[in-house]
């Protein structure tokens, strides 16, 4: 018998699927009969999905300009023979 607490300790392994099939089956049996853990699994999955779905932060033009200015300065100082 898997308790809620035991299951939640292993939630990541369950979500990331890093367990052997037999253990997973044990945990699945718990999720199937425990409405609370079912909801936690479902909403944690959704939490991860919303963060994976966000667009990468745009790099503001002025930040990018200053980055390249700093790099060019550094590169000019290094003066490598092959460019």
């Amino acid at each position: 018998m898997v308790t809620c607490k035991q299951f939640l300790q292993e939630l990541n392994a369950y979500l990331d699927d890093t367990v052997d099939p037999e253990t997973k089956q044990h945990w699945q049996a718990h999720v199937d009969e425990c409405p609370n853990c079912f909801v936690i699994v479902d909403t944690t999955k959704k939490t991860l999905q919303v963060y994976k779905g966000i667009e990468p932060q745009t790099l503001p033009d002025d930040v990018r300009t200053r980055l390249w200015q700093a790099l060019e300065k550094k590169m000019a100082a290094k003066k490598q023979p092959q460019v």
Binding site: L11, N12, N36, V39, D42, T44, T47, A70, Q80, Q82
Partner: protein, 208 residues
């Protein structure tokens, strides 16, 4: 050298890195082009501060350029630059800790303490209820509410998609520490977003 120089897709990155190490500045510029947005996002996510994020972005690439000889090529260039950027970001975070209060949302304890968990299903497609700007703000504030130790692990594992081992190595902590911090970070975010997105008008207490 132009910042918009591009390389055909499918171009082998190890060749690019080798050229950069041999002193080809265009090759290094191309590497910066590829990862500048991701490094900025990472820096912003860890420091939660525009000024610090910009400093991290610049210092990470300048250090990478200076120390390119130290890059052995046994990991991906991306993992290497991430490691440099994370160290820079954590250093700035520690500096700021003294003059900026770090918001501490009630942590989710998995110990013996009683856990007040929000157990409720979400509205369908909650993102449709908000403008893009509001949506981003909600997600950002939730990440913001995590303690820095948890936030950094969450950012590396679930946003930058580093492996558990890579995250442990980058942060100089053990694999079990990465796992336990990630669990707490995920549960705390779930909790917070559930308060925001739970389906209204349904009594789910019947489950408890």
């Amino acid at each position: 050298m132009t910042p918009t120089a591009s390389v055909p897709t499918g171009f082998d990155e190890s060749a690019l890195v080798a050229q950069a190490k041999a002193g080809d500045q265009n090759a290094f510029a191309e590497l910066v082009n590829r990862y500048e947005r991701k490094i900025y996002r990472l820096a912003k996510n860890i420091t939660r501060n525009d000024e610090d994020a910009e400093d991290v972005l610049q210092d990470a690439f300048l250090k990478a350029y200076t120390h390119l000889d130290n890059f052995k090529g046994d990991s991906k260039f991306y993992t290497w630059i991430v490691r440099i950027a994370v160290n820079e970001a954590l250093m700035r975070l520690r500096k700021r800790k003294t003059d900026r209060s770090v918001p501490l949302d009630e942590p989710v304890e998995l110990g013996e303490e009683t856990v007040q968990r929000e157990i409720a299903v979400w509205e369908d497609n909650p993102e449709q209820q908000y403008s893009q700007e509001e949506w981003r703000k909600i997600l950002d504030e939730a990440v913001d509410s995590l303690k820095p130790d948890f936030r950094t692990v969450f950012v590396l594992r679930d946003i930058e998609e580093l492996s558990t081992e890579e995250t442990a190595e980058t942060l100089g902590i053990s694999v079990p520490a990465v796992k336990s911090r990630l669990l707490r970070a995920r549960l705390a975010l779930r909790e917070r977003l559930t308060r925001q997105f739970k389906r209204k008008g349904e009594n789910l207490l019947g489950y408890l």
